[in-house]
Chain length 243, copies 2
DNA sequence: ATGCAGAAATTGGTTGGACCATTGAACCAT
DNA sequence: ATGGTTCAATGGTCCAACCAATTTCTGCAT
């Protein structure tokens, strides 16, 4: 009967601090890289102890929203708004290979869908932007005789942006970050990513032709080549599975 | 020339605390729900101040690994291991109709892929679990003459878990949360979700038959019905698009 | 013995103040 | 210009209290 009795709010000091800080950031229109007030000033202005401010900032730091530099200050690392949703992803105990495959499966699902949506929605301006990134990537490929992570990533980002759904870019950006965290250890595959090269242009062509299913198919082929590279790398590993 | 000079690591107090704590959890074989030592004891044992312990625990709390209850103690909320990988995902905004549709597009991509993977990988135990949730959902549907969010969500969760990739469950959980944030306000569609009901069983049947593409197709049909409901709701809305 | 209200101990939350370590800017010497 | 020195600002750590919620214990009334 008495179901929706709201969970009363007795104390929530540091949450309140974060809320206030998010409001401040919005009002001051602070963006990534900008410095926010010192802990001492925040503590004084908000009428809380510096320790409480620190706990709040520690939470933001853990979420990657903020970076603290001793002796310098605290800086924004990402855009923050009062109505953000935080979802920390945790990948437990994965050896490298399992983690990489897990992120790839997410990429397979999202990149295919994003490419299809992009083929439906991309306008002239978006198409031009994607082609520009594609040209840059192909140029880098020729120059350095190999895939370049940066230009590759920028191409994919342009596709996600043109999908009209910001969540794609945000989620896949997280996947890329995780991917590259395992990646310090190049699994011994020399020409990693080489096989994926031609599919970038075919994806673009299907998008430009407003062919959703074609774009999806090409995106799937691209991911398949990466998965293949990964499996070859796993074979090279075998024993170096320390721990 | 002097490219790869890594930024050296001098101090990392609270990181060290978390590492030690993770080791402790492993050694004591603590699982979710179990209580870990009090802050005062940790501070004493680790020879650091209680403040430092608190900062470390605050980070874990922000990551959803731990829950603190004043007067009671600190409890594990998830399995932790010394080598786990965290990737905070923060999603911006999306409290309007467009945001709702955005979450659905992500769901379409991930649910389809998860259903397909599940059809490939689910073993007998996982299948039994999924069917159990399905039965519960159908029973709730009969009893209350309508879809039940909770049982519905549990069914999908079981599918994600059986997909063998923990990221699916975590990411879609974020989508559900975003979805339900807006959802307290039923868009005026009375029998929301009704149309999706039969597809739950067809999804299960395709999974049980180890038919990935069939499962994917049924999952897509399910999402399509929800999108349809949503569009009907949007038509009902029109003006109440506050803020 | 049993049940239960109130006291006491436990535990996380907050405060204020102190000091350390790092940074960056201003200044100085060469 | 280059490289050291000094100094103020800032985050990092520590300590010692006290507050607030919870749990446990105690002792009285039944």
């Amino acid at each position: 009967m008495t179901d929706h009795l709201p969970p009363i709010q007795t104390t929530a000091r540091d949450d309140a601090v974060l809320k206030a800080l998010a409001g401040f950031v919005r009002q001051e229109a602070l963006g990534p890289g900008e410095k926010l007030p010192t802990e001492r000033i925040l503590a004084e202005r908000l009428k809380v102890s510096r320790n409480t401010v620190r706990e709040a900032l520690t939470r933001w730091e853990g979420l990657g929203l903020v970076e603290r530099r001793q002796g310098s200050g605290t800086y924004l690392k990402a855009a923050v708004s009062p109505d953000m949703l935080h979802m920390p992803l945790t990948l437990a105990g994965g050896n490298d290979f399992a983690g990489l495959m897990a992120t790839l499966e997410i990429r397979r699902a999202l990149e295919a869908e994003a490419a299809a949506l992009c083929a439906i929605r991309a306008g002239k301006a978006e198409l031009a932007e994607i082609e520009r990134k594609l040209d840059l990537m192909e140029e880098a490929f020729q120059t350095r005789a190999g895939m370049s992570s940066d230009e590759d990533w920028e191409f994919h980002q342009a596709v996600f942006r043109a999908s009209g759904n910001p969540l794609f870019e945000q989620i896949i950006a997280a996947m890329y970050e995780m991917f590259h965290r395992f990646w310090e250890h190049p699994l011994g595959v020399r020409d990693f990513g080489h096989a994926s090269f031609p599919y970038h242009r075919t994806i673009f062509e299907r998008i430009a032709a407003h062919d959703p299913e074609g774009a999806r198919a090409e995106a799937l082929k691209l991911i398949a080549t990466v998965e293949d590279d990964l499996k070859r790398g796993a074979a090279n590993l075998k024993l170096s599975d320390r721990r």
